[in-house]
């Protein structure tokens, strides 16, 4: 069943203590692959039936108004199968 996914990440110039904490922890656990880590939010939104363009447009609005804070965050809205 299709769902709308909204990814919200802190803007690159805003410091991300959670991401940095993860980046710092990885080597301690013996992981060396990460150059940098950013942590954000992922929203999975179920809709009735298939996702319509109208719903997607609504989701865009909701992401801008509620799900993200434009002062510090960017977001991406997409449909996921």
């Amino acid at each position: 069943m299709a769902k709308i996914v909204v990814d919200v990440m802190l803007k690159s110039e805003i410091l991300d203590p959670q991401g940095s904490a993860v980046a710092a922890a990885l080597p301690r656990l013996g992981f060396s692959f990460a150059k940098s880590v950013r942590q954000g939010k992922r929203f999975e939104i179920e809709v009735e039936g298939e996702v319509t363009p109208a719903q997607l447009a609504e989701a865009e609005k909701a992401a801008e108004l509620l799900l993200s804070n434009p002062v510090i965050e960017n977001f991406v809205v997409r449909v996921e199968k």
Binding site: L10, L15, P17, L66, N69, V71, I72
Partner: protein, 222 residues
């Protein structure tokens, strides 16, 4: 003089704020998040707590409560508003104040007695202090790190809109040690630490928080 104290679901420090308003000499009026009028209050306090559990982002959901629409309107027209901790976060989410409050740098909730210096005494909420006065009041939050872009920071500093700064080591990673700011007009103030918990040495680290509540009285009688 009537000061409204707003209660959202999840607000915790509303009783403390009410106590402080009374100690400051004003009359406290309870406002409910669903209210659509402000019951004729002369100023409003958005107290600390975890409105709507602080889910999503601190203050993000409270910002859309019916009572906030009126507060945003009248705040823009000059109604004195003080947002403490969660209230500060609500004011930022409402764009009544610039910037945002993010996770503490060390990711831990921090409750401690914090020294701050009062840097702007022209606002409705800080006139009882002297410029540069250092006071100790509780700081308690998990998301108190003030962040904003460089241009905003520039503006805040050059316009003297940083009303309080942390003294000593930075407790949460806030830019320029910012503990509180105000809008250009000086009627709206956001403050991370909790003056309402410092009105009596018996229950707080000092009584130095009282100044914020006597200040509003001065502002109103003027």
């Amino acid at each position: 003089m009537k000061v409204g104290v707003v209660t959202f679901p999840g607000t915790l420090d509303d009783r403390d704020a009410t106590r402080a308003v009374i100690a400051g000499g004003a009359q406290a009026v309870g406002l409910w998040h669903g209210d659509v009028d402000l019951k004729g209050v002369d100023a409003v306090i958005l107290p600390g707590g975890f409105s709507y559990g602080d889910y999503l982002r601190c203050g993000a959901i409270a910002r859309f409560a019916p009572v906030m629409e009126v507060i945003i309107q009248q705040g823009k027209r000059g109604l004195p508003v003080l947002g403490i901790c969660n209230g500060f976060q609500v004011l930022c989410e409402s764009h009544l104040l610039p910037g945002a409050l993010t996770r503490n740098a060390d990711l831990h909730f921090l409750c401690r007695d914090q020294k701050i210096s009062i840097e702007n005494i022209e606002t409705s909420w800080t006139s009882s202090f002297t410029r540069g006065e250092e006071i100790v009041i509780p700081l308690k939050n998990g998301e108190g790190s003030f962040q904003c872009d460089d241009a905003t920071l520039q503006a805040l500093e050059s316009e003297g809109r940083v009303i309080a700064r942390y003294v000593g080591e930075n407790p949460n990673g806030s830019r320029n040690l910012i503990a509180g700011i105000t809008n250009t007009r000086g009627n709206i103030v956001g403050l991370m630490p909790h003056p309402e918990h410092a009105i009596d040495p018996l229950t707080g680290p000092s009584a130095q928080g009282l100044g914020f509540f006597t200040s509003i009285l001065n502002a109103l009688v003027k």
